[in-house]
């Protein structure tokens, strides 16, 4: 049976689909604090939207609660500002029932890793075709500064005046451990790369998890300076590029070499090692992805940024449609009559 929704999903876009970033800016004033990292994510998202040639009405941004949760109000598409931690299951129901839509989830380190943790790992496991943008500012901002599951040990916040005792999550490791097919990390200071990663995430079929270090000016200012500042950034991060050796440092003079299974930083200038001794990144090698994710919180090593893993598997929503199509093709579309009658019935005259 053709449903009303089939008809709507099938509607042709009137006019040519040709957007400029401004088309994705609703005329509301953005209510993030001046200097919030959120702005640095919002604009590239608006900038890349036109590239996909997807009509606005086919795009939905779903968010949870947190400063990040306001994101949908700032996108001139369909938007759903849901409840704390539940953006993913809502987006999942939406995507399964409406595979024609491009579904994005914008969330925070608390929203996605604390209260929403279960939905996150299950979304990764199912490989549902949703793009997750996680604003990681390592704090609960909307509630004015408590620690989050990504806050570092010892961090002093309003709810940890004596220092956090918990080990933080490594979001990339968690995503990979849960089976995510695409996992990447970016930060709010390098628009260039952030934009390219947003593109890759958007084009990935299946779950695409993008962790974005997003500075909170008010409650955790400078949390990522070591990795993002002009002075220290280059020496403390290594950008992962598919097929390229892991080189880092201000003057690209350092690299990562594997010593057994242990990644070690080496100098490329002291003559001991050369480019060819370094690990070459491979987005399709899920073991390497684990190794790189795992090195994230090792203070002696630069923090990997970029795409840890990008492998393709059929997405859950695809499989649902496939299973239905297969059933209908093999058994024929079911009629209500046979469904209601069941296997044993009789007639009363």
């Amino acid at each position: 049976m053709k449903t009303i929704v089939d008809e709507i999903a099938g509607m042709a876009h009137v006019g040519e689909i040709k957007y400029v970033p401004a088309d994705f800016k609703p005329d509301v004033d953005v209510r993030w604090c001046a200097g919030c990292g959120g702005y640095a994510v919002l604009s590239p998202v608006q900038r890349i939207m036109p590239d996909f040639g997807i009509p606005k009405e086919k795009i939905v941004f779903v968010s949870g609660i947190g400063c990040s949760g306001r994101f949908p109000y700032y996108m001139e598409t369909y938007g759903f500002h849901s409840i704390h931690g539940r953006a993913l299951p809502i987006a999942t129901g939406l995507k399964i029932s409406r595979p024609d839509l491009s579904v994005w989830v914008v969330t925070g380190d608390g929203d996605n890793m604390s209260i929403g943790g279960n939905h996150f790992i299950h979304a990764c496991r199912r490989n549902i075709d949703i793009n997750i943008l996680m604003f990681n500012n390592e704090v609960y901002s909307l509630t004015k500064g408590q620690y989050s599951p990504t806050s570092h040990k010892g961090q002093v916040t309003k709810s940890s005046p004596l220092g956090v005792l918990d080990e933080p999550f490594n979001p990339i490791s968690l995503a990979l451990g849960a089976g995510a097919t695409f996992a990447a990390r970016a930060h709010d200071k390098d628009r260039q790369i952030l934009q390219s990663l947003l593109e890759r995430a958007a084009r990935h079929k299946g779950i695409a998890f993008l962790e974005i270090y997003t500075n909170c000016r008010i409650f955790n200012d400078g949390a990522f300076d070591l990795y993002t500042s002009k002075e220290t950034g280059a020496d403390n991060t290594v950008w992962l590029e598919d097929g390229k050796p892991l080189v880092f440092g201000k003057n690209k003079d350092k690299g990562i070499r594997m010593d057994g299974f242990t990644p070690k930083p080496v100098s490329l200038t002291d003559g001991k090692y050369g480019i060819n001794d370094l690990v070459v990144h491979n987005e399709k090698d899920s073991t390497l992805a684990f190794i790189l994710a795992n090195m994230s919180y090792n203070p002696d090593l630069p923090r990997p940024m970029g795409i840890f893993q990008a492998i393709s598997k059929p997405s859950y929503d695809e499989l649902v449609d496939l299973q239905i199509r297969h059933e209908v093709e093999t058994k024929g579309e079911g009629t209500m009559e046979e469904l209601l009658a069941g296997s044993t019935f009789w007639d009363v005259k």
């Binding site: 049976m1 053709k2 449903t3 009303i4 929704v5 089939d6 709507i8 509607m11 009137v14 009509p55 606005k56 009405e57 086919k58 795009i59 779903v62 609660i65 949908p72 109000y73 369909y78 938007g79 759903f80 500002h81 849901s82 409840i83 539940r86 299951p89 809502i90 987006a91 999942t92 129901g93 939406l94 995507k95 399964i96 029932s97 409406r98 024609d100 839509l101 279960n118 939905h119 299950h122 299973q323 239905i324 059933e327 209908v328 058994k331 024929g332 579309e333 079911g334 209500m336 469904l339 209601l340 009658a341 069941g342 296997s343 044993t344 019935f345 009789w346 007639d347 009363v348 005259k349």
Partner: protein, 608 residues
């Protein structure tokens, strides 16, 4: 030899035995046959709560009860006329409900030393005269089958497995039922295994023959056809009826169906049925938990599906916060709650009606929603469609309450013609002209359903309070008051769009018996009895718990006394008192068992 044939207008048969004895199959076949014979039927399966309890134990007893007749049948029967007991424990557990002078068919083989001790019998009740007030027939079924099938050596496994058919055959003789439907079923079930088919059919006949030829079986009972409306019938449980109701409702609304659920006893059947409906284009998600189940339904509803979630008590508790979101963003979601005995894990396999409070009041904030209740297995189909009708027309989540009793009980159901079902009217908008996400339909107060995919309707919704009409986030004090009242008024208006309450019996007088949900069956039966006795009594069954029918208040005020029997400590009683300020008498049974008609009847006699 010839035997007496006695006519009866209703009879209750109970098959009981070990989990492994095929009791549920025998019972189902008996009720199918009775349905096919044109009787009214009402059945209830009674499983042990353990998956596979040790053989012969008291807590391992499985039973299936069939109440059928030529007259209107609304319960599974207060007392048993014929008890088939495959072993000692099944006799021990069920004897208490056997009629004075009732018939016992005991499988003597199941009363050996081991079975007796497991059942806690000092000596064998079949031999020590303990059962002399009953008509006791003991049969060593295994031996009978062996002799009957002498020659062909049947493997003991098949032997054990076919005993239930022997017992079934005997009951068929007693109630003069045809064997064909069962033979048909056997052929279908064991298609390809001709020897198995042959054996089973032989065993079935053997049972019939045994009863026919054994002199102790002196009497046959004849139960006439009930006068049922002509049409095609099937037996159905409440849970299956809900699943079918969801698919039917989606068709009538021309919407795709989405179910987001997490398994939980006794609601799991619904999820399982739907998961098998792929060729009907139905989509579903077995979610990671109930919260995700509800949230995925919200997402699907936002996308334009007829969205539903099915659960039981603990799951409903978990959905609480998400239901509040659905109320706030005003999307339709059908929430089916198959009530079980609480609180907490409680008694998962036993029915109760104690989730009414939670359905009505269980949300933070002023967050009203419609609450409906189904009265019987077959009523689950109609009420599911009704819940969907209200949900899509008024853009609201709706809770439909059923329970583990009607959810698993079967009744013959007259299969409806899709043409005769109401058309559902989703309030979609497609025209951007003057669109606003919270501009309401002046009649229903429903906001428009503006789903993604429609060019020019791009907008944002969410859980924050929003401005009337525009839907923009707003903290303006007057707006919050207005929106809170609008959300309330929208639900209360539904009272104008539901059937008026109907009183059976006197339109005013001494006692009004008010039932809701599965208490309907027992209450109706009790009412019929007393009414036939010419007592001044009236009966009202309430299916719409919030809002309630607009004529209910005036009805309540016309009676001196009101009795509400409930499988809880007085939840509807409390709601009725709060709304209408009339005192209500309660009858509260919280034992994990449905009311017996006579329990309600006795209470009414006290009050009259």
């Amino acid at each position: 030899m010839d035997k007496i044939v006695e006519a009866r207008d209703e009879v209750t048969v109970r098959f009981a035995g070990d989990s492994g004895d095929g009791i549920q199959v025998a019972g189902t076949l008996f009720s199918d046959t009775s349905g096919i014979m044109g009787n009214e039927v009402n059945t209830f399966p009674d499983y042990p709560s353990e998956i596979r309890a040790p053989e012969g134990t008291l807590y391992g007893v499985s039973a299936f009860q069939i109440h059928f007749g030529s007259k209107n049948i609304n319960t599974t029967g207060d007392f048993i006329d014929v008890l088939v007991a495959m072993n000692a424990s099944s006799l021990k557990v069920n004897l208490g409900n056997l009629q004075q002078g009732g018939i016992i068919i005991a499988n003597s083989e199941g009363f050996d030393a081991k079975n007796l001790s497991l059942a806690g019998y000092q000596d064998n009740p079949l031999l020590n005269g303990a059962l002399k007030e009953y008509k006791l027939h003991q049969v060593d079924m295994a031996r009978e089958i062996k002799t009957e099938l002498a020659g062909q050596n049947i493997p003991p496994k098949i032997l054990k497995k076919s005993k239930n058919l022997f017992a079934l055959g005997m009951t068929y003789w007693i109630f003069d039922r045809p064997l064909e439907p069962t033979v048909k079923w056997i052929n279908k079930k064991f298609k390809g295994q001709d020897d198995v088919i042959l054996t089973n059919v032989k065993v079935l006949n053997a049972g019939w023959k045994y009863a026919a030829e054994t002199p102790e079986f002196t009497k046959q009972y004849k139960i006439e056809k009930a006068d049922l409306a002509p049409g095609r019938y099937r037996n159905i449980t409440g849970n299956h009826a809900v699943a079918l109701g969801l698919v039917a409702a989606a068709r009538k609304a021309r919407l795709p169906l989405f179910l987001g659920s997490y398994p939980i006893t006794p609601a799991t059947d619904i999820l399982q049925d739907i998961s098998g409906f792929k060729k009907y284009g139905v989509k579903h998600l077995q979610a990671e938990d109930e919260i995700a189940g509800m949230c995925s339904a919200i997402g699907a509803a936002y996308g334009g599906s007829l969205a539903a979630t099915s659960t039981s008590g603990p799951g409903l508790s978990l959905k609480t916060e998400a239901i509040g979101l659905a109320i706030m963003i005003e999307v339709p979601v059908v929430i089916i709650n198959v009530m079980r005995a609480g609180p907490s894990t409680g008694m998962p396999t036993k029915p109760e009606q104690s989730d009414l409070y939670h359905a009505m009041f269980g949300r933070h904030g002023d967050a009203p929603l419609p609450v409906l209740a189904a009265s019987s297995a077959t009523d689950c189909f109609a009420m599911t469609i009704e819940a969907a009708r209200i949900a899509v027309k008024y853009m609201t989540p709706v809770i439909l309450l059923t329970d583990g009793y009607i959810g698993q009980a079967t009744e013959p159901w007259r299969i409806p013609d899709m043409k005769d079902l109401p058309d559902l009217q989703p309030s979609f908008v497609t025209n951007p002209e003057g669109f606003a996400p919270y501009m309401r339909n002046p009649e229903t107060l429903a906001r428009p359903w503006a789903i993604p995919g429609i060019q020019g309707l791009e907008h944002r919704v969410g859980g924050l309070e929003k401005e009337d009409v525009t839907g923009d986030v707003s903290q303006e004090p007057g707006n919050h008051q207005r929106m809170t009242e609008l959300r309330r008024d929208k639900i209360e208006r539904i009272a104008l769009d539901i059937p008026q309450a109907v009183v059976e019996g006197e339109q005013n007088g001494d006692v009004l018996l008010l039932s809701w949900g599965s208490t309907y069956g027992a209450a109706k039966t009790a009412f019929d009895t007393l009414h036939r006795d010419g007592k001044n009594i009236s009966f009202l069954n309430l299916k719409y718990l919030h809002p309630m029918p607009s004529n209910l208040e005036s009805i309540l005020n016309r009676f001196k006394k009101i009795l509400i029997p409930e499988m809880n400590l007085g939840q509807l009683k409390m709601v009725i008192q709060a709304k209408y300020l009339v005192p209500v008498d309660g009858l509260h049974k919280v034992q994990g068992k449905p009311f017996k008609a006579n329990e309600i009847e006795n209470k009414l006699r006290e009050m009259l």
